[in-house]
């Protein structure tokens, strides 16, 4: 891509041919400006990447002492002064709550996406699509408040109420990514299926969804990663616990890595804060592994 301009030769002094290698002063200034702006843009990129590096570095460095096998297999001691112990109850709570949320929401989300693809042009589909987009921006704390007002006031705190809140946060992500993926299935596949006499539901369930499978799985995993990383709604719906809670909806709350970190951060003792850092490492690993695996699956997608 060239950066200099060519003036018509007639504009120069009569008889003097300018070599293309000699830049006019304006062209030189423009070229310098372009280079300077490139540096500025590079600076912006560095400004965006440095925080990520700092976050990862800090989490790894600070969780060194508390993180280990016992962190993953033991429950936190009752006193924050005491070192040792771990977040087993939190890890279990996060996996349990997010798992139930995923089980509830993934079929619902894919079904909604199927509707958006099959009847995408109708006004109702447009409304649904629009509000799904809007729903991705609903604050998670509001979802927590709403689930509190709707469910927790009757069922009290627990795994299920937490899962409902996480599910509502995950739903729009699943719907929109699944819709994107279903759109990419070539119409030939669908027509071939119809041509063989398959019914609509057979075509959708046995041809279209499997064809878009890797992409849909990717979307679901990204949604799960998002749900696992949420803490704010859980303080209003799962409340927290100090032991491993197996109950589906016990009424006494369910633990979560983020909630344990919040409690650890709010008190002044080093042992508790170190465990919070280790919890951060656990959570960020969980989320990033899910994200990376999701991307790898998407790469294998054939469509």
């Amino acid at each position: 891509m060239s950066t200099d301009t060519l003036e018509p030769t007639s504009s120069g002094p009569a008889g003097s041919q300018r070599s293309l290698y000699e830049l006019e002063p304006t062209a030189r200034r423009r070229r310098i400006k372009s280079r300077v702006m490139a540096m500025v843009l590079l600076g912006a990129v560095i400004g965006g990447v440095v925080p990520l590096v700092i976050i990862l570095w800090q989490v790894v460095v600070n969780s060194g002492e508390a993180f280990g096998w016992s962190f993953l297999t033991e429950v936190e001691p009752l006193s924050y002064r005491e070192a040792g112990g771990g977040y087993l109850h939190g890890i279990w709570g996060t996996v349990y709550t997010t798992g139930i949320a995923a089980l509830m929401v993934i079929p619902l989300g894919i079904a909604a996406a199927v509707y958006l693809v099959e009847e995408g042009g109708t006004w109702f589909a447009r409304v649904v699509r629009f509000f799904t987009d809007v729903m991705t921006g609903v604050p998670s704390i509001f979802v927590g408040l709403a689930v509190y007002a709707i469910l927790v006031t009757r069922l009290r705190f627990g795994t299920f109420t937490g899962a409902v809140a996480l599910g509502i946060i995950m739903l729009p992500i699943i719907v929109r990514t699944a819709e994107e993926m279903l759109h990419q299935v070539p119409p030939d596949l669908r027509n071939a299926s119809f041509g063989l006499g398959a019914r609509r539901w057979q075509t959708t369930l046995k041809v279209v969804i499997p064809a878009a499978g890797p992409g849909i799985i990717t979307g679901c995993m990204l949604a799960i990663a998002r749900g696992a990383g949420e803490t704010a709604p859980l303080i209003l719906t799962a409340l927290g616990a100090r032991t491993v809670v197996m109950a589906f909806q016990g009424g006494n709350g369910q633990a979560d890595i983020g909630l344990l970190m919040t409690d650890g951060l709010r008190q002044p003792f080093d042992a508790g804060i170190e465990r919070a850092w280790a919890g951060g490492l656990t959570l960020i690993s969980l989320v990033l592994i899910l994200t990376i695996v999701a991307r790898l699956i998407n790469k294998r997608s054939q469509i």
């Binding site: 843009l41 965006g48 409304v127 809007v134 509001f142 803490t231």
Partner: protein, 330 residues
């Protein structure tokens, strides 16, 4: 599907009524699933408004939004305290605006660099890096903010600015506090950077290649192409992405709760501690009396309406800017 003739004889076209209802049932299931999105939104909105109604009734909607005093009562059945949300709304808006002011130029730079300047092998890693930033859970950013970003970055910066001649401005006057609008806004800008970048990058990538190539053929420099072709083309997308960023900033909870300072003072300076709608819900919920929970629900409704307005506007702008995909997960 039409079945023209039902020839019962051997060898003819056979069709049975078995499974005739499967397709309509399937369609209904799918429609119900799609409707559930709308139902969930409506139920959430309706239920919280109903639950918060006593507060709106006692204070009046306008009184609630503009009141400056928030002192919760202990009652179980009636409103005895005073509920004014203005300090929180003010804090939320100030923090979000600050975050956007910092994040938008960065996002613009990152989007232009990845699309136009980066060598091909760097493009994907850059996109992944920024998307990864979006996936970092907010509690993790909060802990890094409390122990690193605030003491090492935002607090010294704030002190420096407050002590410099700029400190004479009411907006930037000292003394700079550690947990303040400034700290919260700066940390928040990291969190909204990915979504603004993603939307901006996608609209920039939608610039017709002919226009770019034409500009290059006319001898424009790289910067001139970006400035006069790509940015004007992608401007609506940038605006939409920014609005989505504001929406995220308004609703971000944990990072704000740990960095904003939890003070109802509502000072003019960015360096004073304040409070935000989300932060007060998060920080006071665990110890709230039934009456105070109505107050928090009323705050939640206010927050929901604010983000709804911003998001609806943003989505309309992004839709007009052309189909942009892939920001759902960001």
């Amino acid at each position: 599907m039409t079945t023209p003739t039902l020839d019962k004889g051997p060898g003819g076209l056979r069709a049975s009524g078995k499974g005739r209802l499967a397709d309509p049932l399937f369609r209904w299931a799918v429609v119900v699933a799609a409707t559930s999105v709308l139902v969930i939104l409506a139920v959430m909105m309706g239920r919280t408004t109903v639950s918060a109604w006593p507060i709106f009734q006692a204070e009046g909607v306008w009184g609630f939004l503009t009141g400056r005093e928030w002192s919760t009562g202990q009652s179980r059945s009636e409103v005895t305290g005073s509920y004014g949300a203005l300090p929180f709304i003010y804090g939320t808006v100030v923090i979000s605006v600050l975050a956007v002011v910092i994040a938008v130029p960065l996002a613009l730079g990152i989007a232009l660099f990845t699309n136009e300047l980066a060598p091909w092998w760097l493009r994907k890693p850059l996109v992944y890096a920024i998307d990864t930033l979006a996936m970092v859970p907010s509690i993790v950013i909060a802990i890094v903010a409390v122990f690193f970003f605030i003491p090492v970055v935002t607090d010294p910066m704030g002190r420096f600015i407050a002590d410099s001649p700029l400190g004479a401005l009411p907006l930037l006057s000292g003394p700079a506090q550690r947990a303040s609008y400034w700290s919260a806004g700066l940390v928040l800008s990291i969190m909204i950077l990915p979504i603004i970048t993603a939307v901006t990058r996608e609209t920039f990538a939608n610039t017709p290649p002919d226009e770019r190539n034409a500009a290059y053929a006319m001898g424009a420099t790289r910067w001139e192409v970006m400035r006069w072709v790509i940015i004007p083309r992608g401007f609506p997308g940038m605006v939409g992405g920014t609005m989505l960023g504001i929406g995220r900033a308004l609703g971000e909870t944990i990072v704000v709760a740990f960095t904003v300072g939890s003070s109802q003072r509502m000072g003019t300076s960015l360096f004073f501690g304040g409070d935000a709608v989300t932060a007060v819900i998060f920080n006071t919920f665990a110890t709230a009396s039934p009456e105070a929970i109505w107050g928090l629900l009323a705050l939640g409704v206010t927050l929901f309406v604010m983000t709804m307005l911003v998001n609806v506007l943003a989505r309309l702008i992004v839709m007009r800017a052309g189909r942009v995909s892939g920001d759902a997960a960001v």
